[in-house]
Symmetry: D2
């Protein structure tokens, strides 16, 4: 992973800001909300708060702060996520056993580690600093990833509650408008794919390589709820012709008849959002669909999904403007804007499923040591998503960013963009 | 179910005491402890607090307090346990989805219902009172049952936490002594079995009937940890000859090698208790064993378990003295006392597994309406336990009391008493 | 187990007849039918043919025929059912892996063992004979039990085939008549329960003991298909009030809406039988129901099932006449006969579910050695059935005979008889 | 799919040969072997025999032979594999319910269809012929695919039998020699990938497209048992650093410690083969490993697997010579030959796992109708394998052939070839 050079003061301030943001996200929660795990994919918010802190303690303070004493001898066991190199840990599906330490104790842990990171950055040894900075940067990026996970996991947790409580009150929203779908040429050719600048990126973006891409056309915005409803009403969920076989079987056995969080009451579609149950905005992009649904929709529409190289080529051809990220506080995808030329919503709103498996780039190799486990060991059975979402911090995304989930997952902020030849 | 006649004032005071006791049990918990459900058998403590209150609202306030307005329209759905007659409800294994309402709201609910029950009992209509009193009594008995369940569920919840936190500090304990096992004659004959007095009992104790019981001998105390360790060290867990086949298979696939909560560290046996991890008291009765283990132990020892009729006959022959109930605050089983004649520990310390299926007594019939679902529908695949435990309130037990659990359950305070012909 | 004294010649002839009968049962099968195992409860017919032979080899020939050489060194591993004492074995749910040895080889095995048993009985040593005869008797009884299992397993195997092939052609049947239900007094008192004569019985029937039984009334025949249909049409399968909770849940999750083998086509009920799909005979007894369904029916009808002591008392009061056993070749239950006094169908037609758990009689103890595993280790979670069925050999049944299955099982020939107080 | 032009006579003869070959493969089986299904991936051989015949009946005879009457009205339901377009069918995991029709009946079905295909080809209408020929060709290719599946499924079926019977006797084998591993340059550049000639290929090979491939080096032969043993003895199966996370978890929970079919007895490794249990030939290629194991081995060896484009580029650079296909009758992979230059074993011996997901080529689209379900709906969660195996007919393979299995599958003839940059 590459890192940025920066003044220590601005680093301190950025670190502080990121650490605070995580706590801001958790502020609306009851202590009880922070400990449950309604499915294995979801982690208890308290665990996120602790794990992101453990990351700094384990990979920054322990190696680089002389005489650092760990906050609690058991926390490495309790809050290690999946680093075999670091040792044994609470199994992923057992995170709700951690009713203790209580939430307030985790905040004490956070404060302690924040303070010690401050000490570490006060009078740093230059050699150590050079070695440590990339890891500190990774810690901040890691915490930002968990900020998105916190929002998606909180959404899922609250949605399982029969009371369907809102996480936050809805922002005032203007009436949205219909934006017609158009397709825009992306010229074929050899594209450089992967992280090319000197700014931070994850190891899975490295191994810049050239890919030969044929001409294709890309949709100007994300697929909307209205368009997806058409697919549903045309019997999309029960017509095998549009589906990958495993997806069709899953849809049947799981009784999928709409995206996750959709609820039909009195013949009216609503959807659970972080602001509670809301009427479906037909112009907003359809979200919380699996890869299987995205691909079935594309087949039904006579189009297809992009590959990840195509997505990156498209965003090189049409550099994405600022989008609807978590900074806006909206926390749900919003409708495309009328009267805009070019390609909208490449950044923010929703992660876009690509028809590319999450595999290593040519020349990828896992880093040695624990941090080599960060990305590489997950490169099977998952699909790449691109572009960030309304739950992603705006300074966390870039064109080469590769997110990845299994094709059946629906609790992330996922959406659909189409392509055609 | 029968009920006791009583002055309204003493009833009020008893009701108040029982309601308060439930909250006292929950006082040492963090809010996070009160919401998780590490296995389906265990309910979140917050749910117990709410459900026992729902019981009074549903079965007492709604029918008998004129113009009673329910505290919250969703609570009947949220906190109904298993009463089909009352309607739909949160599925048993989904109780940890109830992170909301938060704990403090449940206390408000409790206070509200307490207050309204107070109003109801202020100036009661005599006819209504006569109809209502048995149900009020049932509500109090029901809440006492949940007090025991709270203690067993809290124990289980905290035991799954890698930190093994204590629920409460251990009482000062004297050094225990070894009490030899002796066997005492119970004369054969026709015994009246079932609830015979006019005091309260559950419907499953009614249908008093005569049972012809042959002479047998009953052990003077519960089987001790030392005696059970002998069985373990003799290879008891791997010798099929002593086991029921389903139990042996379960022990193998679940890797049972000791009672629940036993931990061997540095070649020393300890056990998790409500007071944290403690050294094994060899003279204390073995607890947290399944029926399968109890029966295997009995076979290994060349003895057998009692039937429930025999247990009741024995307790008619040797009326049980006061025992170690939850009132003592010890909350764990204690060793038998030396220099005592007769039969000890029939009451309190541990529920005693009998080799009797939990079936209806002759003449049993389910009551009409929702309360008919209280007991009768569980009369299959479960075994009867007798005598109460260290987690049972002392005024909740009687000779005819039938507790029941599946033969594989271990999280209750269960123990072994032997018999021989 | 007790055994009968008998002349060697008649013993030989009886042994021969029983051994041949097993093969007669398998004659209509294709080799492919004999190897599959569509559910764990069902064993492949080829396995039954081999296992009953293994029983004689293991328990008679090996110990009692000097210099006996086993037919094949692996067969003890392949065809041991559940005797831990005998050693490792193919797991119960893996019996369909035994495509080899092929069927014809199993017949060679059978002939070999038959021949050697003949040799053994030619010039027996008197002392050895005395020891061996009870085991030989057990082997024959054991084989008769497997004859019934063969018929029930074959029925199940063929029923899973979409072609619904018939096992044999239907016997010519006369038109049946409706026989009204009547209830007959069984006088209360102390009854001797258990096997009292000197004829053979299983160890689980021993421990004759006295049971005090109150007056009750018993139904004159089995519950009919017409009566059960009424229950179904009254919504019996969806009305929780009649059901044990575990049964109701199972019925829902398994989507039970009728007895096993019932098929509704074009609004007409048919049932799969050993003679293929047939119209429902409304006067025939309802069969292939679980204990849960039997008990729900009884509750709906305002009656109850008998206990096993009551059943035995009833059959002492009304000694059963000859019934519809496998010898008749009908192989399905038949309607009660009109114009008969007293109690019909106590023997044959269908095993009658009782509301008694299969537990040890007072004084029961497992025999030492492998044969102690025959019955005792199954005495949990199962319910007793009485009276034999249309798949039971007529010389295999007696009043004290205790059959036992889990309350959810439906593939046996099970039925319902009601009682009332 | 493309097809070849050919004279009708040679077509007839080829069809005949292929149909006969399937039966030849099944000749050594007992009827009982042909009906079981020890895991869902495996189909009963009888089902293969019928399904390949059903394919011709459904897709050739029904549409193209005037007045064709189906052999049996239920066979379309019984022997349809996964074609939703054709209608309902026996669920994949329920194929062992088909004990009827018996094997001999399936052969009658085969003969009937063969005869009718002969009639169809006698005096064909030219227009119909043009339409039908590609489907007939597909039917033959389809049957050849099932010939390979028959061999792998038979191997698995017999391997679950504790007797470990041999399918056929082993061919005489010469002593093998060690061939050192060398790496050969494949020059980078733009390669045309996909089926380019006019011969038959599957639809998933179409959409010829250009891929930019950098320089790389490819191993001269497959990885051997000796090399894989080194990995095992170095603790490969327990060292997480070499594994994809899902693979490592699977290896642990499935207790994988060696390739499938390996057995260690008396400290000596043997492997189950179609010729029974045999000593491990250290020079033979390691087989029956999952993608996870192949990839872990590559990581341990400091190399990597090829992508499917690289494999195709390599085979364009080093055109594969004839290999060890099913025609040789060896039916197990054989050691590389000494003193050979260039790249061996690209064709035959073992399918080579690539690190490429089985996704559509650019421009791929499913054919309309039932045959569109042939390949496209499986394009998720599977990895591409290349080159054919010792169970593949030699006239069934080509450079562009894409086989595909889930990364956890081990019962196919799979192997490892390494690459490096």
């Amino acid at each position: 992973m590459k890192t940025i050079s920066t003044s220590l003061a601005s680093l301190q301030s950025r670190l502080q800001k990121i650490r605070t943001q995580t706590e801001t996200i958790c502020k609306p929660l009851e202590p009880e909300d922070t400990v449950v795990q309604p499915m294995t994919d979801v982690s208890p918010p308290k665990w996120h708060l602790a794990h992101t802190t453990w990351f700094f303690e384990e990979f920054v303070l322990k190696p680089y702060l002389p005489n650092y004493k760990v906050f609690h001898p058991s926390y490495s066991y309790l809050f290690n996520s999946y680093y075999n190199s670091v040792g044994n840990r609470v199994q992923r599906d057992q995170r709700s056993t951690l009713t203790r330490p209580p939430l307030r104790e985790i905040y004490t842990f956070r404060n302690h580690v924040n303070e010690q990171l401050g000490n570490l950055l006060e009078n740093p040894n230059e050699t150590i600093l050079a070695e440590m900075l990339p890891i500190l940067e990774l810690g901040m990026q890691h915490e930002q990833q968990h900020q998105e996970l916190l929002l998606t996991d909180i959404k899922y947790i609250l949605s399982t509650n029969p009371l369907l409580p809102a996480y936050s009150s809805a922002p005032t929203s203007e009436k949205t408008q219909y934006v017609p779908a158009t397709y825009h040429e992306v010229p074929g050719g050899i594209y450089k794919i992967g992280c090319q600048g000197s700014d931070f990126c994850f190891d899975n973006e490295l191994g810049v390589h050239e890919v030969l891409i044929p001409d294709f056309k890309v949709m100007n915005r994300l697929v909307t709820n209205a368009e997806y409803l058409e697919f549903m009403e045309a019997g999309g969920y029960t017509d095998f012709r549009f589906w990958l076989d495993e997806g069709f079987t899953l849809a049947k056995t799981s009784n999928w008849q709409s995206p996750l969080y959709w609820v039909k009451q009195n013949n009216r579609w609503q959807r659970y959002s972080l602001h509670g149950l809301q009427d479906l905005d037909l112009n907003a992009p359809v979200s919380h669909i699996s890869f299987y649904e995205a691909n079935a929709y594309a087949n039904w529409a006579g189009k297809r999904l992009l590959t990840e190289s195509e997505w990156e080529a498209a965003s090189q051809a049409y550099p994405p403007a600022n989008g609807n990220f978590s900074d806006t506080g909206i926390l749900e995808p919003t409708a495309a804007k009328p009267d805009q030329n070019g390609i909208q919503q490449l950044y923010g709103d929703l992660w876009e499923w690509t028809y590319s498996a999450y595999h290593p780039y040519p020349g990828f190799s896992m880093a040695p040591g624990a941090l080599g486990e960060y990305n590489g060991k997950f490169m099977i059975n998952q699909m790449v998503l691109r572009g960030g979402s309304c739950a992603t911090p705006s300074d966390h995304i870039r064109t080469s960013y590769r997110n990845f989930f299994h094709p059946d997952k629906r609790w992330q902020f996922t959406g659909i963009r189409l392509a055609t030849t």
